[in-house]
């Protein structure tokens, strides 16, 4: 359809404005993280650019600077006080351990199940698929309360045993990501013609060899996409981590502890928040192509 120049430009402007509106909270968030305190908490006017940028907020949450050091660095004692710890280095390590661990576990388990569901015909196949799908519908709140009880009995809470505490949360994140990984990977396996398997097996390869040496290498891109999505979902998860752990703090849980009854440390919150968003941004741009497929559990392809 021919569109006039005026209509086209109008559309361009509307498109850019819409995206700009959606980018504004991110921009404001990142901007807040480099603002000194007086610019954030200014009650007389909204400070947009009229401030001296500072990296102090990042130094506190990512390098563990103390409040005394801030006071010396900034030459001002405004708002310096309190004893809360804003050092988030351990939190970031915790989040990485949980996200990487659960992604690895999910992918290993899911890739096996997805292959069988894509390639084998057996009784209960559709039942199993529905079970996996049903798992996606399950509200986490429904299993978290009994899980805490289970972990208590099994001595798996992080207050009982720190290592088992990590394992406990990793396993639950793996369970949460299992449906999306299985269904997404199945859709990638379905894209590989079955002739490939049959040719390999006629040549004398076992199922396992066929899977390992022939089919799996062909869906490498799909495995990467599934892994990225699992990582992001684990990295951003809040409810399960909040309920299950007390010593181990993932980033989303830690960040909520910066809100105190005496006021919120917005500088530190936005610094940790910005740092927490960045890995997701990088990863999401890597899997742009498979995003729709992942979010719809393999049922829509782009």
């Amino acid at each position: 359809m021919e569109q006039s120049f005026a209509r086209r430009s109008l559309r361009d402007i509307a498109a850019v404005l819409t995206v700009a509106v959606f980018m504004f909270p991110l921009f404001w968030w990142a901007l807040t993280s480099i603002k000194p305190m007086y610019a954030i908490f200014n009650k007389d006017e909204v400070v947009v650019f009229d401030f001296v940028p500072t990296l102090i907020n990042y130094a506190v949450v990512l390098l563990g600077w103390s409040r005394a050091e801030i006071a010396i660095e900034s030459g001002s004692t405004f708002g310096v006080g309190g004893t809360s710890s804003y050092d988030s280095r351990q939190t970031i390590v915790d989040s990485i351990v949980i996200a990487v661990g659960s992604t690895g576990l999910t992918i290993i388990i899911a890739v096996l199940a997805a292959y069988a569901l894509s390639r084998m015909r057996f009784r209960g196949r559709s039942g199993f698929l529905n079970w996996v799908l049903g798992q996606r519908f399950l509200p986490p709140i429904a299993i978290i309360v009994p899980l805490v009880g289970m972990y208590k009995v099994a001595g798996m809470r992080d207050t009982d045993n720190l290592f088992l505490g990590y394992v406990g949360l990793i396993v639950i994140h793996a369970l949460m990501n299992l449906p999306i990984a299985v269904l997404l990977l199945k859709s990638f396996f379905d894209d590989v013609p079955k002739d490939v398997d049959e040719a390999a097996m006629i040549d004398g390869a076992t199922r396992w060899q066929t899977f390992r040496k022939v089919v799996l290498p062909m869906v490498r891109g799909g495995v990467a996409a599934a892994a990225v999505l699992c990582f992001i979902f684990s990295w951003t998860e809040f409810l399960l981590a909040l309920f299950l752990t007390t010593i181990i703090r993932t980033v989303p849980v830690k960040i909520t502890t910066f809100v105190t009854s005496t006021g919120s440390e917005w500088g530190f919150i936005s610094a940790l928040g910005t740092a927490a968003i960045l890995p997701g941004f990088i990863f999401i741009l890597l899997v742009q192509r498979h995003l729709v497929r992942g979010l719809t559990l393999g049922s829509l392809k782009e």
Partner: protein, 304 residues
């Protein structure tokens, strides 16, 4: 799959142990099944068991009393309020996100230069941890120095005397704003995929017949997109129904119980230590999710 393949002797396994070989589906599905049974099915059964017990707050022991928690939930006004809030939240968010998502998708569906970048930018909100999103909006909606609040004061939509999150009639709107910002891109993305998969011919035919683009949208685009819309609404609806993060971070169910959803109410009961009642409430959430999604799939013939 050919018979010959199925009949192949499984290397080195006696017939009795065949199910252990890679020719059999069992070893492939075993790890996934084990995970889903131990950490999915078992906790659910345990929740059911808990919900049939009454907790004695003094001795902290659970005594078998099958209808105690269920009757308590039935007579608990807060449960009904939470259910109403949950449905209201889900409904409003779903409609706004779907309509906005469709409109933005139509706007961004162009092959011209620069639109690819705009589409990529549009996906960024999806990867922000919801708890962080809640924080972002908490900052922007702050009653005294929040940039959004102050803009709303400036154009007279809001009065500084009634900060949006501190007022029980507007708090839910504040929380919804965060949800809409984060998840409209989800709809945009899926609608874009749907739009791009539409065949070109019907639209060319309609244009020749002199149909306007608005007619083409309602008569062609929408009907052909129904499957995509159904899937998007189903997935989003299920996630909306268990909303927790934004409510917990932004208002903690307040002011009063104005923004209390089912999940956040069971969370509160859980932190108060009444596990049996918390389990009952979470099972009610589960039952409602199953009933609502099954009805939706049946009525609109949606299949994932």
């Amino acid at each position: 799959m050919s018979e010959a393949v199925l009949e192949r002797p499984s290397a080195g396994f006696l017939p009795k142990w065949r199910w252990l070989s890679s020719e059999h589906p069992l070893p492939w599905l075993l790890p996934a099944s084990a995970l889903m049974i131990v950490f999915g099915i078992y906790p659910l059964l345990y929740a059911l068991w808990l919900s049939l017990h009454k907790r004695n707050p003094v001795t902290r022991l659970n005594v078998f009393d099958p209808d105690y928690n269920w009757m308590k939930a039935f007579g608990d006004q807060r449960v009904w309020d939470a259910i109403a809030t949950t449905f209201l939240y889900t409904g409003i968010a779903l409609v706004i996100q779907l309509v906005l998502g469709l409109l933005i998708a139509l706007l961004l569906d162009s092959d011209r230069k620069g639109y690819g970048v705009l589409r990529a930018l549009m996906t960024l909100p999806l990867v922000v941890p919801p708890a962080v999103t809640g924080m972002m909006f908490l900052l922007m909606l702050d009653g005294s120095f929040g940039v959004l609040s102050r803009s709303l004061y400036a154009i007279g939509l809001l009065s500084p005397q009634y900060p949006i999150l501190a007022n029980s009639s507007t708090a839910l709107a504040g929380v919804l704003l965060a949800d809409i910002w984060q998840w409209t891109p989800f709809m945009v993305l899926i609608m874009l995929a749907g739009l791009r998969s539409l065949p070109k011919e019907p639209f060319e035919a309609a244009a020749i017949d002199g149909a306007s683009s608005i007619q083409a949208f309602f008569k062609l685009t929408l009907p052909m997109m129904s499957k995509v819309i159904g899937i998007a609404v189903l997935i989003r609806g299920i996630d909306l129904f268990r909303v927790f993060d934004y409510v917990k971070v932004m208002t903690d169910s307040g002011p009063g119980t104005a923004t209390e959803t089912l999940t956040s109410y069971s969370g509160r009961i859980y932190f108060n230590g009444d596990f049996p009642y918390a389990s009952t409430l979470s099972l009610i959430t589960l039952i409602l999710v199953i009933v609502a999604s099954t009805l939706f799939m049946k009525i609109f013939r949606v299949k994932l």
